[in-house]
Symmetry: C2
Amino acid sequence: MPQPHDAQMRLAVSTVIFALRPDAAGRAVLWTPLVRRTREPQLGLWALPGGWLPVNEELEVAAARTLRATTGLAPKYLEQLYTFGEVDRSPDARVVSVVYWALVQSDEAARAVAGPNVRWVPADTLPGLAFDHNRIVEYALWRLRTKVEYTELAHSFLGETFTLAELREVYEAVLQRPLDPANFRRTMIASGRLRETGELLAGAAHRPPKLYRYDASVRTAGAREPFQSERPAS
Amino acid sequence: MPQPHDAQMRLAVSTVIFALRPDAAGRAVLWTPLVRRTREPQLGLWALPGGWLPVNEELEVAAARTLRATTGLAPKYLEQLYTFGEVDRSPDARVVSVVYWALVQSDEAARAVAGPNVRWVPADTLPGLAFDHNRIVEYALWRLRTKVEYTELAHSFLGETFTLAELREVYEAVLQRPLDPANFRRTMIASGRLRETGELLAGAAHRPPKLYRYDASVRTAGAREPFQSERPAS
DNA sequence: GAGAGTTCAGGTCAGTCTGACTCGAACTGC
DNA sequence: GCAGTTCGAGTCAGACTGACCTGAACTCTC
């Protein structure tokens, strides 16, 4: 029979945050911000942003708050990932962590706050993190990579308007493989979710591309997934 | 800044259990077992099986235990569904529930324990449940119905060996639409996951069908999903 | 200012996949 | 022995996808 838990059990909320940034070679890759632990256990190690869940705060709000505290930005996409609760995942008390994952816009991420206790690292080559956080980020990466193929969340990395080449770059960075530009255009247009703004992006040394805007109002064919939030309250 | 939670916050584990059973008309549909609440709040209402998380018990083990306590059976499939933590979902203290969903074998479910405080109901026509449990079951149903289309979890409803017609019945009951027998056979065989046992099922008033066995050892084309468990420890 | 170099936008084509359908095989019940 | 059923295997047309082609439209270089 279940027994009431005692004060040794604590509930935390953490968030895996993803943004696209250029790597050393200038190619866009996934980055994630980490915070340095300022207290025991695991003092000094890098960890996911997060904290204890306040009694009167919603889980998703707590996730958005820690995200803002770390990056100074509001997520364009925020969704619950998984709840990690292994008995031995923290050396001291039993800690159950409700983990969210978030996408933030690339150009805003470029001017994200940085400091001695906040550090952005490439999501695919993580250092050794505190607790089971390496495993958590790997799962979040897996979820992002599978979900980007059957949903329309890629635009969350971009601004209000974008070209098809920019959108394709997002897919290529997330999926880590090149996509045929012509076929990519065809499938994106066929999805019915893109609206032409009527404007072109001038300045490049080639034919100026059309600017598009994402249209979320189009009804999805299948049933819409519950419990996701687009542009949550900041 | 996050503040440490106090004793007003409690962590629970619940499970949505699905099994196939014939309805009044004899057609196989999804059923789920409920338990009657024996204490306040919501005393007397029907609710999901579950309980408080013991400090030294793993989340998944706690889910399997409550499942066994309710149905007397071991699940053939068990996976974390979502964590529900709205501040006002329980009238008294703040309760955060880590919810799992499980599939149990049809013929075993037929001899599941029943009593004044345990009741099986058709999953699509639920009575008014305690707390936010209606919403939770609906989400679990959505997850089952979408996931059965791109994974191989349907066989979890069946025994060791089964005919293609039996497997098709599972899909039809879950998806709530008829499937073409010939096309169903083609795609199932093409998946490479079915092994002929060499035996036939005799006795029916038609050509005897082959018996198949599910082969989990075949490598999946895409990356395998983490954090699912097939046949967890009972 | 003409040509080179680039990507953009739209198209073709072949192979794959999927839903609808057909037909003989193999059993039981009458 | 015939009717009725599902089983198992096959056909066919349309949809979809990856590979590829071509003219359009811009900037940069000479």
